[in-house]
Amino acid sequence: MTYLPPQVDIDDNAALTVDDLAAMLTRMAEIRALEDEIQRAFTQNLVRGSTHLCTGQEACVVGACAALREDGDPGDAMVCTYRGHGAVVAMGAPLDRSFAEVLGRSSGLCRGKGGSMHLTDTSVGAYGSFAIVGAHLPIAVGLGLAAKHTGSRAVALCFFGDGSTNIGAFHESLNLAAIWKLPVVFFCENNLYGEYSAIRTTTPIERLSDRAAAYAMPGVQVDGNDVVAVRAITGVAVRRARAGEGPTLIEALTYRHRGHSRTDPATYRPAGELETWKEYDPIGRLDRLLLRRGISEQAVEEIHAAARASVTSAVAAATAHDEPGIELLVEDVYA
């Protein structure tokens, strides 16, 4: 094990109200329940191809997207990877249409043409989930370029995994965003494994955030299972970007509870590693913070129950939606 968070319980932040914390817990619990439902649907052969679940990493996307929304701009944009269900939902994509897309229904976010790896909802600023590792970092640079060109205060938030930091597009993107001082937040979710390989076996440095130094931008590491810390550190980067001071690289240390994709039982992980990380589960940690704030156990359980109910009803609705008509096959190729 190359990393464990410094403490099991996360620190409080007085800047966040109970409502702020409860809203983040709701979103994280919805994402957890949605991923569980997608896994269940997969085992029932309702999901085609592959899926990449973000179970265990919910604090990264929920904390960072919450920071983007604070004093947000309508032009703010987020791009993410094929492990993107959580990020797209964190931006506010509807649960039913997200699940419908995973099922390949015409009511899905992408009319059933994208699927699990390409969830996109530009109406909430979710500008795509990209299935080629690192491919969306250059596109995030373009989203930032548009903001700069039009003089808006919009920011592009770009999630990617630790594996992306070894592909050329990562380096080209950080460099270009830095020299043009573009409003981009590069957010690396380091879940310690690039597909099936431990990051320490593929990468010669301990801290991926150190790579920021090569591009003269701030590089910071954060406990990615601490939603309060993620929100705070991302807020600093977002405000910096809005002020025209350029990009930031954030490395959030986290852990995926499941394998890389649906076919991966993750047997390459050392015995006990998953169990240890579950003690640092971002949802349990946020539960305990709310309890420390004086919220009752019953109230916390109600948040979870409501999140599960939202997902259950979204799943039921999406499952009842129609398969796409064949006429959709040839639509949307050209404008």
Binding site: L109, R111, Y127, A146, E172
Partner: protein, 325 residues
């Protein structure tokens, strides 16, 4: 109406687009202060500023990604790939991202981006700076691929590409930069996806683009002196291909010759032949001729490179042989 070069037509199209629409920006390697290695962007940085005519690092993936991302937000970016061969470096951005974004997202947003790629052989740049690479992209519906072969098309197709809602790959042939032609002072808007009948004729339809189109026009003059009257069709857009115009011409002439600056396998010329044979078979008096370059990389030495490119002599020979049956 004035006589300008193909290079100037491109420069003027960029300048006019920049002047007409604040959403237009131009980016690429050495295009600003240096004016581009082929000088197609000369003076634009001075006229429109370095924020709208942006010099980039040597980072083709970032250039194309920045083009896609800014287009998604409603800008009209025009990227330059200094040599079309460099498209191999950013193939993912063009083939997997730019081409598919609209479809994969169910049509939520389009990518109104233009990429200019400097194409073609004949100038001694060797194997990695001379290819005509439009064939690499024919299998990516969602892209529009244009190949201007004369001064008026260079201007008109570039303005149309920048105005279009779809991603357009605009190939400009480095062997044509110095050709001259008429460019109206207020050039009309041109439509993408339409072939042009460059020369009317009755004996054979000869389809070609860019440098090969210029050579076919020369060949037409040579053949005309011998009473052979060919019709020259420039597809101008290779994806989607205007097979209607080509097919109508073959219906009239009953013969098809395609001349292209690449190997035959997987080429647009092979697609034209296949389309005509399957849809206009009854019109053909003889098997179509596909005149291509040999199956080798492009050589450096002058004599070898000239032997690689289909010459005007090879074109006239092929047409005479077809019609002598």
């Amino acid at each position: 109406m004035s006589q300008v070069t193909y290079r100037e037509a491109i420069r003027r199209a960029l300048a006019d687009a920049l002047a007409a629409d604040p959403r237009v920006l131009v980016l690429g390697e050495d295009i600003g202060a240096a004016g581009g290695v082929f000088k197609a962007t000369a003076g634009l940085s001075d006229e429109f500023g370095s924020d709208r005519v942006r010099d980039t690092p040597i980072s083709e993936q970032a250039i194309i990604g920045a083009t896609i991302g800014s287009a998604l937000k409603g800008l009209r970016p025009v990227a330059e790939l200094m040599f079309a061969d460099f498209a191999a470096v950013c193939f993912d951005q063009i083939a997997n991202q730019m081409a598919k974004y609209r479809y994969m997202t169910g049509g939520q947003v389009s990518v109104p981006a233009t990429v200019r790629l400097v194409n073609g052989a004949g100038n001694g740049f060797g194997s990695q700076h001379s290819q005509a690479v439009e064939n690499w992209f024919l299998g990516f519906p969602g892209l529009i691929v244009v190949t201007p072969g004369c001064v008026a098309d260079a201007y008109g197709l570039l303005r149309a590409a920048i105005a279009d809602e779809n991603p357009v790959l605009y190939f400009e042939h480095k062997g044509l930069y110095n050709i001259k032609g008429e460019l109206p002072d207020s050039a009309p808007a041109m439509q993408l996806g339409k072939a042009s009948v460059v020369r009317q004729g009755t004996d054979a339809t000869v389809v070609a683009t860019q440098l090969m189109r210029q050579r076919v026009e020369e060949a037409a003059e040579v053949l005309a002196a011998d009473g052979i009257d060919i019709e020259v069709v420039d597809p101008r857009t290779l994806l989607p291909l205007d097979i209607t115009t080509i097919g109508a011409s073959v219906d009239k002439t009953n013969n098809l010759v395609v001349v292209q600056e690449s190997s035959a396998a997987g080429s647009w010329g092979a697609t034209v032949v296949a389309s005509v044979v399957t849809a206009h078979f009854e019109s053909l008096d003889a098997a179509p001729v596909l005149l291509s370059a040999p199956d080798t990389p492009i050589p450096y030495a002058g004599d070898l490179e000239q032997a690689w490119l289909p010459s005007t002599g090879r074109i006239t020979d092929a047409i005479r042989k077809l019609l002598a049956r």
